[in-house]
Symmetry: C2
Subunit: 360 residues, 2 copies
Amino acid sequence: MQTLSVKLPERHYPIHIGPGLLARSDLLTPHIAGRQVMIVTNEAVAPHYLERLKAGLTDYTVAEVILPDGEATKTLASVERIWDALLAHGFNRRCTLIALGGGVIGDMTGFAAACYQRGVAFIQVPTTLLSQVDSSVGGKTGVNHPRGKNMIGAFWQPKVVINDTSVLATLPDRELSAGLAEVIKYGLIRDEAFLGWLESNMAGLRALDDEALTYAIRRSCEIKAEVVVLDETEQGIRAHLNLGHTFGHAIEAAMGYGNWLHGEAVGAGMVMAATLSHHFGDLDEQALHRVRDVIGQAGLPLHAPREMNSARFLELMRLDKKMLDERLRLVLLSALGQACINDDVDPATVIELIDNFPRA
Amino acid sequence: MQTLSVKLPERHYPIHIGPGLLARSDLLTPHIAGRQVMIVTNEAVAPHYLERLKAGLTDYTVAEVILPDGEATKTLASVERIWDALLAHGFNRRCTLIALGGGVIGDMTGFAAACYQRGVAFIQVPTTLLSQVDSSVGGKTGVNHPRGKNMIGAFWQPKVVINDTSVLATLPDRELSAGLAEVIKYGLIRDEAFLGWLESNMAGLRALDDEALTYAIRRSCEIKAEVVVLDETEQGIRAHLNLGHTFGHAIEAAMGYGNWLHGEAVGAGMVMAATLSHHFGDLDEQALHRVRDVIGQAGLPLHAPREMNSARFLELMRLDKKMLDERLRLVLLSALGQACINDDVDPATVIELIDNFPRA
């Protein structure tokens, strides 16, 4: 097991990473306020891991909410189900909520905790690679609104994060690859040595080698924590975390959320960003080849959807809230392991890139 | 006009108090982030004051949500109407919400601001005496749930509070008196000199003398700010702000919210708490008489509802979340201008008090 401490202005919290941690209630109980615990999970995760988690909590009053799986569940109505259950069980302001699931469960449970009796304790037990590397740090919680993703939410920090690499055994391969897209992103934006390590260890990661997973998750969380601390107000380098995401969001929006997984769209989006960086002379041919290669090795797409022409891409990219009006604002690479922001990209250049980009 | 600065850990915000401030857009605009302003108000307040407020905001994109009046409106569904309107108008994370109304509007608007795109700017323009002295300080926002009041919410601080004494001209007399209950409370718990000032100036306050109102609101906000700063975690003396409230909440719950106004129930509750303090030997006969007299002068009830016997009181007081299990925990007075907490009150003593307390 490895432990990383995330430093907040007022306190620190630990992220524990390693195999078999779900059974380690000694990691959990020091962070449980009061005697009342509400576990929030979903129908895909509960059959595998709910009882294992509950087994360590026999000293507490434990209740649970089991929601449907999927992004369509990430609504205010689901969070109301959590609040209803908390009140039906008479849970007070010293209760603790545990999120057992992927990013959707983590985001909703964190938001429910942030607003129940004006804020109660919250613990993350992420069960997908994506949520282990992405939701462990940053404190973003919330739900979608029919008019936009993540429009309603709060910043709310967990007391502890338990990243059990063993639970990834039940994760579908496609979702493992999608999580690897974000892992690769951390190497690309900030750590060329980590990118090199990923190139050497991709097979082990995809074979669920615990040691490799533990290191990859730890380094990803470390890099995210560095970036978030450097830029708490989200004005500057935190934007680097969006490498590939403006292209990726366009793909997700065009294809329908869930048809292309978030990580798959980001994977293709990072290849597009790297290609543009090559066009601007910041990445040489060999570096671009390394980006394509590591993303391909992770099992991610190196093409854009056949259905999307450059006009459709541009239209959806302009809707992205991170973009300015006339020129395009994109996160690119100034080198491998070093992201930069170009807020003056000529749309014609992007159109040319997309027109020449491979299709499935 | 008087201005009070409320000191938060990370920043200060001003409370402006005086007549005619609604027309003073120069007090408002320095605190408006961005160019998009959403005014949230209700059907009772809008006809009187909405246009006056909007007249000073011609340089901004202004939208409005007008909700029904009353505590029954204080639901998550109402807050969703605010979020829907914000998104329908394309408001971004640099928008500003203005609450124009009483405590219900302030609590809901603050909560809507706390959670819209994970937090946007918020300005309080309270239009009742109660909300001017109570909601200006403390940052509590939220809504009711069918199973309990204020169960869903957040701490979210305003950028500025505009307490215009002129708007109290359209406030019904009963609501003015209800607001005075909280003003008297601040004298009773922390400032005997202010209590004496209230005894001398009650007629002027009820006649809406602007100078008297400005001073009373200012001193109330000051005292609340002192108490909140001394006890940010709500473990100790912040409980003093609940003088009369445990009895009062029982009256409100038994009689149906709105039949007894909150301030009316708190007024009677403070007389009960003072009577108990007299029983324990902390207030002499003359001091108890002064408490009864000033509350009566404010136009507040000095009796309990005929319908409530001591058993009903005790049953409802035990439900109050601020109480411990066996013995009763009550805020009492150790002297005029000095509150104390007694967490070992014998229920038999309370029963005797209630049995002998005057009924309407």
